[in-house]
Symmetry: C2
Subunit: 170 residues, 2 copies
DNA sequence: TCGTCATGGGTGACGTGTCACCGACACCCT
DNA sequence: AGGGTGTCGGTGACACGTCACCCATGACGA
């Protein structure tokens, strides 16, 4: 890159806003969630993924793909959540080296009682500001970038599995 | 909230994508930046804010507002960056309890050599996917949400100063 | 049979972020 | 004087995330 072509005025605004707005919204919601329920955003993401899976159980690598997380991050997260009784590990019969993560009763209780509050916050901090056009535009933008990432992804994806990477939270 | 009004199909897609896309883009850029320059995204944000200030120096609280960070986070970040020689603390003559943060020579060197690579990454992972319409839509979306946050902000802003909160990175 | 490589999962150390709390100063009020 | 209250900044403990590395299982070819 000789003479790097810097972002122009509009690109700057778009990029900095992209970061700042996302951080601000996530931050506010995370703080309220933490205060009201004692759950971090990471906790919540794991609980949601599990609660949407049949039986509230998922192989570790499935959870990893669902959340698009790195391997170790998930391991540590599960360890901590296990210590708090929200989930439990179970051995896998089919694959001796595999493991399941299962929602405990406390885990179900936590997610079902947290979800309504969480939706409220998401509406309050985010959707209340948006018209239908905004939502459509956002979906279009997301899909565009996602396609680009999937097609570009060289050696850089966080979840090492280069397959169907979906998303995180409701 | 009796019978919480859950997000509908489109809202779900918009919200989950909002989180997932942002995390994915930030993650890829952060990893490359870290590998190539040894700087974290947080380091980079601080260096950028300082480099844009006259003399490369800013009061701590100004930096806090500029980055929209919590107080303690910034303190710790500055402590670490000071230990690595990227910035330095200086006492403030006007206000005995205040302090300046100043870019060192190593700090200037770090930011000027990192910035071109960073712009490349931002283009590669983000703007290369976008048309002009996307950029406009994103700016519109950002401004809308930002206005909403500023008007709504009850007791929840991260930087305790409820004034002009700007942004982070180029 | 042995090496090697890929996959599923984990550990420990260390850098990063947050929470609760503290110290210093200033201003105001009584 | 004495006591709030607000601002500017910091500390220490602890939770979270990442990096480098390890262990076990199984498939495959020499």
């Amino acid at each position: 890159m000789t003479d790097p072509n810097w972002l122009d005025e509009r690109e700057q605004r778009a990029w900095r806003g992209f970061l700042a707005v996302n951080a601000a919204v996530r931050g506010r919601i995370a703080r309220q969630l933490q205060q009201e329920t004692g759950l971090s955003s990471a906790d919540y993401a794991v609980l949601v993924s599990l609660s949407e899976a049949p039986g509230g159980r998922l192989r570790v690598f499935q959870l990893r793909v669902a959340a698009d997380w790195e391997k170790t991050r998930l391991t540590h997260q599960i360890t901590r959540m296990t210590a708090r009784g929200l989930v439990a590990r179970e051995p896998c019969a089919d694959d001796p080296r595999g493991a399941f993560v299962v929602l405990t009763d406390a885990g179900w209780e936590a997610i079902t009682s947290a979800a309504p509050r969480h939706v409220e916050h998401v509406r309050h901090w985010f959707f209340d500001a948006l018209g239908p056009g905004h939502v459509d535009a956002l979906i279009e933008l997301n899909d565009t970038v996602t396609r680009h990432l999937l097609s570009t992804d060289g050696p850089c994806a966080p979840c090492d599995v280069p397959s169907s990477c979906d998303d995180v939270l409701p």
